[in-house]
Symmetry: C2
């Protein structure tokens, strides 16, 4: 008799975005004339830049000729792209990453979801709260948790609250943890971690033989000069951290699909008996066994982001989004809201007025301002009392949304 | 202390294709003038057809305009592609598959590798021998096996020998099994299973509450009219089978990446306590949590395969490869070889002469004919004494390879 992985049955319904969609659809049906502005889902709105478009057309033409067509590529990704990442993203910041430490994939959701497969089921996982749900759900499926409580917290996971008091960078856990998910610039709070704050985590991981899974998907949105873009800017991080990066938000690739993981060759985990095991060959084996490489077109497109023209064009799109974020921050502060983020990340984390519950404030915004956000409670218990606003939209729509919210 | 998933350490080295590459490179270095013809790896050689190229250019242009650009798509795949699959691949053969039973992905390697996550670790897995190694390796990683013996057979897996005696369709296992991997048209033997043979398996699965994972990646290469293209052509299969299909070989998408899995809504598995659980929502949850949709460009390209022009163009490319296969089969038989497959599949399964070991014959072919095949032993113990030849190459090169082999 074929039996199911009963850990899947522990998963709470993925209620956040479907529930938002349901409420928005119901409101729109009752109010067909309302011009709803969506600042909820973190999806890009600007088209791909010309350098990327040209590279994709060229790649398509290559596929039309036997002499230049590309079949199976290396599972790890084409050397041309891995080299471009090293030379543009890491070397200029003084960070040592080798091309064969980079694994190109079709998305950071896959990478951050799959990475846990390499580790034993009885490791203790620590996540920030609020958190990107994929980190948690994939560990639930793997059997590293018990059931969820009423607030949605799974037994066995160590939740590290990120609050105004700690500037949304969690304190070290009071109990031993083995696998630590950190995301900076942060989704959903928009906070960043300083060198000193990351150093504390790297030292903790070294001292406790833990591994940090560092999600840097939003690093391109950093505007302040002294904020680290990579955890590897902290000495010793190569020994304890995997890093994830994505072209999705950086270059508008949410529909194109290309991302990467960095697994340093010095990174170790251990057998139960204490013998050290290199993590790089484990991930290489996992990647090559269960993945057949990202599309050649996506990789050619990603490489174009690193050309002179591509870099400049992408920079301008990011500036457009960050101009939105700045405008939103100013408008909301002037209207009397308490707001975090939006300086080094495309997300703003808004405290609900008068201690309203996230969903109540969501409803009020929808009904009275026709603006859609994402209730903070959807990202975890510590997100209650907040709402996430995304800067991914056209500037004129963002401006109008802010005017409406000021009148709320 | 972060501990590794020690099941990964049970994996034998992925020695097959790297070892082939090593031997070919060594020979080429010693014999720089030898014109080596590769019929080893099953990668396509013909370019993408014009209808697909045009669709991809159009899709790239859509991504260049804010009005038409596509960000995150539905994780399950665009409706336009899922509908095209139903209307072209299934409905004309009288097979009931609904669009929401189709999950578009970036490759069958991923799908056949990931599908096992839904099931408990203590299920017994049955695979054909010889076998596509991904089925086995992903179950090793998940912990469903013990260690491998000297022949590479993992403890706990039920290997079902596919031999000349059973026409390379395995007999029912003598012991209870829960999860059964079948692949027809078969990689590596090129064999097909008849309706009657598949019916035996479907009835076995129903009677034993097992699930069949049916890999139909090569169905487009079937030339004989009475060979089933889908396991769902067998009555009752919807209750016991998942099916995998791919655009990789069908339409030359090995570098583009697009495939699909069909998970029927009636398919059940069970909790340990015997309660039935629907599999479709489990796979949907897995797919949406760990995957963010296939590239829009790949999906637009795949949809073009179903246009009138695309269908006709793809048919001609498949005919080219199958003309190769027919030519190979005739030439090898005339030269006195015993050869299977090549009629409904792009692979030929050649018995080595005089009972030679697979690797010895591989070496003889390489040294004396400068032709590269794949040793059957690399696909499993029952593949010893065979060699796989792929029909994916340009006709003139295939013809020359056969002339050289006739002179062996």
């Amino acid at each position: 008799m074929i039996t199911v992985n009963e850990n899947f049955l522990k998963l709470r319904a993925g209620y956040l975005f479907p529930e938002i969609a349901r409420r928005v659809a119901a409101f729109a049906a009752e109010n067909p004339d309302a011009r709803i502005i969506k600042l909820g889902i973190g999806d890009v709105t600007e088209p791909l830049v010309p350098a990327v478009i040209e590279a994709m057309h060229r790649a398509v033409d290559e596929m039309a000729q036997a002499e230049t067509m590309r079949g199976y590529g290396p599972e790890q990704g084409y050397e041309f792209l891995r080299r471009a990442v090293v030379e543009n993203d890491y070397r200029p910041r003084g960070v040592q990453v080798e091309t064969d430490e980079i694994f190109i994939s079709d998305g950071s959701k896959c990478d951050t979801g799959n990475i846990q497969e390499m580790f034993a089921v009885d490791n203790v996982v620590a996540v920030a709260d609020p958190v990107y749900p994929v980190y948690v759900d994939t560990n639930v499926m793997a059997g590293r948790t018990g059931r969820a409580d009423d607030r949605g917290r799974y037994e066995g996971i160590v939740y590290m609250p990120c609050t105004e008091d700690n500037q949304f960078v969690p304190a070290l856990p009071g109990e031993p943890v083995d696998l630590i998910y950190l995301c900076y610039p942060n989704n959903p709070t928009g906070a960043v971690a300083s060198h000193d704050q990351l150093r504390v985590w790297v030292e903790y991981a070294k001292a406790n033989r833990a591994i940090i899974l560092f999600d840097a998907a939003y690093e391109a949105f950093i505007t302040e000069p002294d904020v680290p873009h990579s955890i590897y800017e902290v000495p010793g991080a190569r020994e304890v951290a995997v890093e994830f990066r994505s072209f999705s938000k950086t270059a508008g690739f949410t529909g194109v699909r290309c991302a990467l993981a960095v697994v340093p060759k010095g990174l170790k985990a251990w057998r139960k008996d204490g013998t050290a095991v290199d993590v790089h060959p484990l991930w290489s084996r996992r990647h090559c066994t269960k993945f057949n490489g990202a599309s050649y077109l996506s990789q050619a497109a990603a490489a174009a982001v690193y050309t002179d023209a591509g870099r400049e064009q992408v920079r301008r799109v990011i500036e457009l989004y960050m101009d939105n974020a700045r405008m939103m921050r100013q408008a909301l502060q002037q209207a009397g809201y308490t707001v975090y983020g939006g300086v080094n990340a495309p997300y703003l984390w808004l405290r609900t007025p008068d201690g309203m519950a996230s969903w109540d404030f969501f409803d009020r915004m929808l009904r009275r301002a026709h603006v859609v956000g994402t209730p903070g409670a959807g990202f975890g218990a510590a997100g209650e009392g907040y709402l996430r606003l995304s800067a991914f939209n056209h500037p004129e729509r963002v401006r109008e949304a802010m005017e409406r919210m000021a009148r709320l």
